[in-house]
């Protein structure tokens, strides 16, 4: 779950990392009074996406009038598909250098990874590409946490000697914020060295580990939910993994890998999938709800039901689909491929109740569905 800057920065302040004095404004009037109170400011769009600066969503202002104008401009923008609804107005400080600092969950070292660069304010992938020697990394043992001496050694080659100690202290606090909040990513970019030689976090990006939301419920209230379509929202309430796509072939499969593959193979045979819908894992008993949800999509011209049961029992899933089918009596053609746990019972049920057979392979079921979608006038775009 992504947190916007205004929601992420308080997590830094909480562990003692300095952040600029700022105010959130939802309209130009609030912005003007913030400008009045704060003086020379920077006005920043609050959206759950990077590249705000490039999109024009960050403007400096030196008076209440300028602040109001900047806020008005930004609040009328759409950045990365999101209409800007609020701006963060912060006091500007005199900056002598910008650093980059982040801690993330690293798959290669299987633990926390601290990254530091003296090339702050830039896209970190660019630094990693063009100046790898300017990006230093430290793998941390999650059990003992970060060690001050290691952090000092990490930053020493890149910063002035007078900055090493306060910077290392700040990075240890950043680790604290990362650990306390079940972060997937806790990033400060830029981390500014000010003219008075103090440090300040000018931006913050925090991503909460989705799997930790169940034990971070208070915190999660401040995050920005993913932008979902109506069906995606309904699916979320049912605890189903559903994503709307543009095509004409509806697909229902079990397990993430098989569902992605069903999409891939539909695409391979030049069809186009209408959705990603997985009912694997604990969701395998929800076939009825799942089917109702996807049939709500008018673009669907034919349907593939692709089950390969491991944990998920295909007999339970198939029964759910058949129940829904008999209840809803949809007019679109459906094609089944059923294998794995419970498949003998599932195929018998399919034959008995719908008079249908499962295809021998997924490929055949998919090709039949694509052909049916085509003849239904649902030519694939």
């Amino acid at each position: 779950m992504n947190f916007e800057e205004f929601a992420a920065k308080p997590l830094l302040a909480k562990v003692g990392i300095p952040i600029p004095t700022g105010m959130l404004a939802h309209d130009s009037k609030q912005a003007a009074s913030a400008g009045e109170a704060l003086g020379a400011v920077i006005v920043k769009a609050q959206v759950p996406t990077g590249k705000r600066g490039k999109a024009g969503g960050i403007i400096v202002a030196d008076s209440a009038a300028e602040t109001q104008a900047a806020a008005e401009k930004i609040l009328s923008m759409t950045i990365g598909g999101t209409a800007v609804e609020k701006v963060l107005i912060e006091q500007r400080a005199a900056i002598s250098q910008e650093y980059y600092a982040a801690i993330l969950n690293d798959a290669d070292s299987k633990g926390p990874l601290l990254m530091f660069s003296d090339q702050g304010g830039m896209d970190i992938e660019e630094i990693a590409q063009s100046q790898p020697e300017k990006l230093r990394q430290l793998a941390i043992d999650v059990r003992s946490g970060v060690q001050l001496s290691e952090v000092k050694a990490l930053v020493e080659p890149l910063v002035d000697a007078s900055v090493v100690q306060p910077l290392a202290d700040l990075l240890c606090k950043l680790y604290q914020a990362y650990a306390d909040n079940d972060a997937e990513l806790m990033e400060i970019n830029p981390l500014a060295l000010l003219d008075d030689n103090s440090l300040m976090a000018l931006d913050c990006k925090f991503v909460l580990d989705d799997s930790a939301i169940k034990r971070q419920q208070e915190l999660a209230k401040h995050g920005t939910p993913d932008k979902l379509t109506g069906r995606e929202l309904a699916a979320q309430e049912l605890d189903l993994k559903y994503i709307d796509l543009d095509g004409s072939i509806g697909l229902l499969a079990n397990g993430a890998g098989l569902t992605m593959t069903t999409m891939d193979v539909i695409t391979h045979y030049e069809g186009s999938p209408a959705n990603f819908l997985e009912i694997g894992g604990e969701a395998y008993t929800k076939a009825t709800e799942a089917l109702k949800l996807m049939l709500d999509n008018e673009k669907i011209k034919s349907l593939v039901v692709n089950f390969c049961g491991a944990f998920a029992r295909t007999d339970v899933m198939t029964e759910g689909v058949i129940n829904a089918w008999q209840e809803l009596q949809p007019e679109i053609p459906v094609f089944f491929s059923i294998h794995g746990t419970g498949s003998i019972e599932a195929r018998a049920m399919l034959k008995d109740r719908l008079g249908m057979d499962s295809f021998t392979t997924m490929d055949e079921a998919i090709q039949a569905a694509i052909q049916a979608a085509g003849s239904a006038g649902g030519a694939n775009s």
């Binding site: 799997s211 169940k214 993994k241 994503i243 397990g255 098989l258 992605m260 944990f311 294998h339 794995g340």
Partner: protein, 294 residues
């Protein structure tokens, strides 16, 4: 990773609905289940084996086990894994999905220090056809699993099952199925699983099933080029997935240039691994590679 019939198994969470269902299936198939764990039902029996309060208790009662499998809800997994490791278990199979990553990192750090191999989290388990399985795989379905010479590695249980079905339909069989799990941080990587299969006497060739996200397939490709045995083919799921979306598995997400289908395909092809357009193409690929059928 590979599990063989001579190994003994402890089932943590044996008394739950899934725990007892799959313990029964594993026993029917021939897996040597020696005990189970549920702190609230210690002293009872389940599936014909004794239930202990903890893995450490089982060990102290003289029940030795080579492998432990965890049928445990997400927030209880770290404690259960620590219990199994404290009991001296060197191989853990962790099925649970949606464990907080911070807990997973604690498990991994402890496992590294103790020399423990964790399979998963979010794996469907391990199978040696005709001998035993540990997890929730349809090992007992002869259309899907048949003793043979192909080692199969998969991040996904359902897709791994489909690949095994296609292998059997093409007249081949498996020496081992290694489900490694769909989480972003897992104990046994694709590369680790390749090493185990390269060293395995029964395996003559390897088939890989990967997916978008992370860089495991790229690391595995480097190693594949150095193996004694051929990695005949790979299927990478998610080539048609939109970027920036988690495709069901927490680990299956493309961020910028990282984790893309293209990057994985390029790396595998450079290592001489054929990348399949559909899982059903595995049969012809194995025939072309002149792998003996069984």
């Amino acid at each position: 990773m590979i599990v063989r019939g001579s190994e003994s198994l402890l089932v943590q969470g044996i008394t739950g609905k899934q725990g007892s269902f799959w313990t029964g299936k594993m026993q029917e198939y021939g897996t040597n289940v020696v005990g189970g764990v549920n702190p609230k039902k210690a002293g009872t029996e389940c599936c014909g084996v004794p239930v202990y309060a903890s893995a450490v208790d089982a060990m102290q009662a003289g029940t030795t086990f080579d492998v432990s499998i965890l049928f445990i809800p997400p927030l209880g997994v770290l404690a259960a894994a620590q219990d199994a490791m404290a009991a001296g278990c060197k191989k853990l199979v962790c099925l649970t999905e949606h464990i907080p990553v911070r807990d997973v990192m604690f498990m991994m750090a402890e496992a590294k220090e103790r020399g423990v191999q964790i399979v998963g989290p979010n794996t469907a388990g391990l199978v040696t056809p005709g001998e035993c399985f540990v997890g929730f795989m349809p090992a007992f379905d002869p259309a899907i699993f048949k003793a043979g010479n192909i080692g199969v590695i998969s991040r996904s249980g359902s897709l791994g099952t489909l690949m095994c079905l296609n292998i059997v339909q093409a007249g081949f069989g498996q020496s081992a199925f290694s489900g490694i799990g769909g989480d972003p941080i897992i104990g046994t990587t694709t590369r680790d699983a390749l090493e185990a299969l390269d060293a395995d006497d029964r395996t003559e060739a390897v088939v890989m099933v990967g997916e978008i996200g992370g860089s495991m397939e790229e690391h595995a490709a480097e190693y594949a080029a150095t193996m004694k045995k051929p990695v005949v083919a790979a299927f990478i799921a998610g080539g048609s997935s939109p970027p920036g979306k988690k495709m069901g598995h927490a680990g299956a997400i493309v961020m910028g240039d990282k984790g893309t289908y293209k990057s994985k395909k390029t790396a595998l092809e450079a290592a001489g691994v054929e990348v399949l357009a559909t899982p059903s193409a595995i049969g012809p690929a194995l025939v072309n590679a002149k792998i003996p059928q069984c």
